[in-house]
């Protein structure tokens, strides 16, 4: 065996290998089998479940493989679980939507699985090159998925916009990475942390830091790099939008936490300032822009921008508690955000596009259960107890206070209050307006399953969050020690 690569590595790569094999099989199954729609769906769900089981099987493992390029640790396992659960929910809400849009499901599921594969590598990569290729695999899959509705002009526009801005932002990110490599002579995060442990500063490093923050800012749609988000979210097929706003965001946050907290703890004071400003502006602009939207997908796009700002608080805190809070929030965020998008996807019928606020009117009369589910998602997104969103916000708030970020905490609370207005508006449309338009709303079994899982997730972690806290705490432990030891040095 060549240096630094052993048979054990393949054992630890089991989830990724299963997922790759499953994705390739989906392509084959789609062509060979009759009743291909169900075959592709079944194969996709089977692959994701198997991959999820393999990921959970590595709970408690803490090692690096492949010559130190990939880490299999609590942090990676946590984010892999987040990504796979969101992929499962996305796939469950897809079949009825795809049927209405009359597009082929085979390649769609293949691309969803490949995006998931990229995210797995983003969650476990501890080397700039590995992280970048994972990010690129995810991004390319999303460029195609955003334009999957070919006759639809808005979908085409979304794809082109996302592709151009995405390629541009990846260029910026790569520039930052290459400067960092030039400065430290290594691409592994551990090596970079070691090289910068002395606390030296230079113009090149500052430039690298700014470019990295800008490049990652694009991926999580932080203001002022958020311009693509509303248009792409509006034009892309609704399940793709859902996955884009959740999976892509979670994986990008995993990458941010890895790069900055594990790779650049020596520069913590510098990037904290950058992220502080980014978090404050992102929350405020996201929430204020969401107030005036009449399209639900655009509104949820701005709301997801605002949530990226909230989660950044955990990054700014840069403590064990901050990382844990960001992870807790991402976990509860997937259920409420995916649930809200599932309801929007459900509203898509032959004669109704279903993404305007007025399409929700009278939902309580037609589908009371779906309306109640949407109410729970909106309450959770707004952070009202006893939902999971409240627990997530509580953790972020306490992490901010603990790190002495009082002003950021104040901005956070003010923003949460502002956001209640537009979440409440959705509820008003569902209950108080009763003009009913369009044909009957059908809820497929897969869609119903997705909604039930999302509701359970949004409520369960609100009333019984302890399991989640424990997992996040374990995963965040390794970062806490890394940061506090460097902070003590300075």
């Amino acid at each position: 065996m060549p240096a630094g690569f052993t048979v054990d590595d393949f054992y630890y790569l089991l989830p990724e290998i299963l997922l790759t094999g499953g994705a390739l099989l989906v392509l084959v199954v789609d062509i060979l089998l009759p009743r291909r729609e169900w075959a592709a769906l079944g194969m996709t769900l089977f692959t994701l479940t198997l991959t999820g089981a393999a990921v959970i099987g590595f709970t408690g493992v803490d090692t690096t493989i492949s010559a130190g390029l990939l880490a299999i640790d609590g942090f990676a396992t946590f984010f892999k679980t987040v990504v796979i659960v969101s992929a499962l929910l996305t796939v469950l809400m897809s079949p009825s939507y795809l049927r209405v849009e009359a597009v082929r499901p085979g390649e769609y599921y293949f691309l969803i699985l490949c995006a998931t594969l990229g995210m797995l590598f983003m969650a476990s990569g501890v080397d700039l090159i590995t992280l970048f290729i994972g990010l690129e695999t995810m991004a390319v899959s999303f460029y195609i998925l955003a334009g999957y509705l070919k006759p639809n002009q808005r979908s085409n526009e979304a794809s082109v916009k996302y592709f151009l801005l995405g390629a541009f932002s990846l260029g910026i990110l790569l520039y930052g990475m290459s400067l960092l490599y030039g400065e430290t002579g290594t691409t592994t995060l551990a090596g970079i942390a070691e090289a910068l442990a002395g606390g030296e500063r230079s113009l090149t490093l500052a430039l690298a830091l700014i470019l990295l923050v800008a490049g990652m800012g694009f991926k999580i749609a932080a203001v002022p790099f958020h311009m693509w988000a509303p248009d792409v979210y509006e034009g892309a097929p609704t399940p793709v939008t859902a996955y884009l706003s959740v999976g892509s965001k979670a994986a990008s946050f995993a990458m941010i936490l890895r790069i900055f907290i594990e790779g650049l703890p020596g520069l913590v004071a510098d990037w904290q300032v950058l992220f502080w400003a980014l978090a404050a502006v992102t929350m405020t602009v996201g929430n204020i822009a969401a107030l005036t939207q009449s399209n639900i997908k655009r509104m949820l796009a701005y709301s997801s921008i605002a949530h990226a700002g909230y989660i950044l608080i955990g990054v700014v805190a840069a403590t064990e508690r901050g990382v844990a809070a960001a992870m807790v929030y991402l976990w509860v965020y997937i259920f409420m955000q995916l649930g809200a998008f599932a309801v929007v996807a459900m509203l898509r019928r032959k004669d109704v596009i279903g993404d305007e606020l007025k399409d929700l009117s009278g939902l309580y009369l037609r589908k009371p259960l779906a309306a109640v589910a949407m109410l729970i998602f909106m309450l959770s997104l707004g952070g009202i107890p006893p939902t999971a969103g409240f627990m997530g916000k509580l953790w972020l708030f306490s992490a901010a206070i603990e790190s002495g970020l009082v002003w950021l905490a104040v901005i956070f609370v003010v923003n949460s209050v502002i956001s209640l207005y537009y979440y409440y508006r959705v509820v008003v449309f569902m209950w108080l307006k009763d003009e009913i338009a369009g044909s009957e709303i059908a809820v497929s079994p897969a869609m119903a399953t997705a909604l039930v899982i999302a509701v359970v997730g949004s409520l369960l972690f609100g009333v019984y969050p302890q399991v989640l806290f424990d997992h996040a705490q374990v995963a965040a432990d390794m970062f806490g020690s890394a940061v506090s030891s460097t902070a003590a040095l300075q």
Partner: protein, 182 residues
Amino acid sequence: MAEAIVFWTLAVLILGLGVMVISARSAVHSVLFLVVNFLLVAVLYVTLNAEFVAVIQVLVYAGGIVVLYLFVVMLVNLKKAPERYADPRRIAWTGTLLAGAVLAEVIAIVYASVSSDEAGAAGGGFGADTPFAECGAGPLVSCNTEQLGWVLYTSYLIPFELASMLLLVAMVGAIVLAKRHL
């Protein structure tokens, strides 16, 4: 000193051509500037002892991608071709000249490689004058390609394999998006 002169000359030329690419009025001119730009970047790589990257730069960027650009630019017909280029006799002459030049080049390459083979007859075979075997732990300057291959297939094997999935995604995507009916 000499290195610095080469570097700064190249830097000025590359940046200048980059500006020309985006400021040229005709799309075809713009692409042609881009070709020269890519070639100069390849020269920059050579001065940095990165021969492999330089060759790839010429093959993939200056060769493959830019030819595709030219095809696209000509297919979408951004600007009508000026009259004088439409003269068939002129095209025939230029074509013959270019074909002759390429033929001469091919003959020269074949002749050169055959004679170098004869010179290094002890090793035998095409390109036998390159000492592959000695490159395992050779210095970076002379064995760039071998070392790159070694690293790529050992420590970086997994990202390398992931890149193949990335290419598959791009391929499936191109088919999905470009084909009218699947």
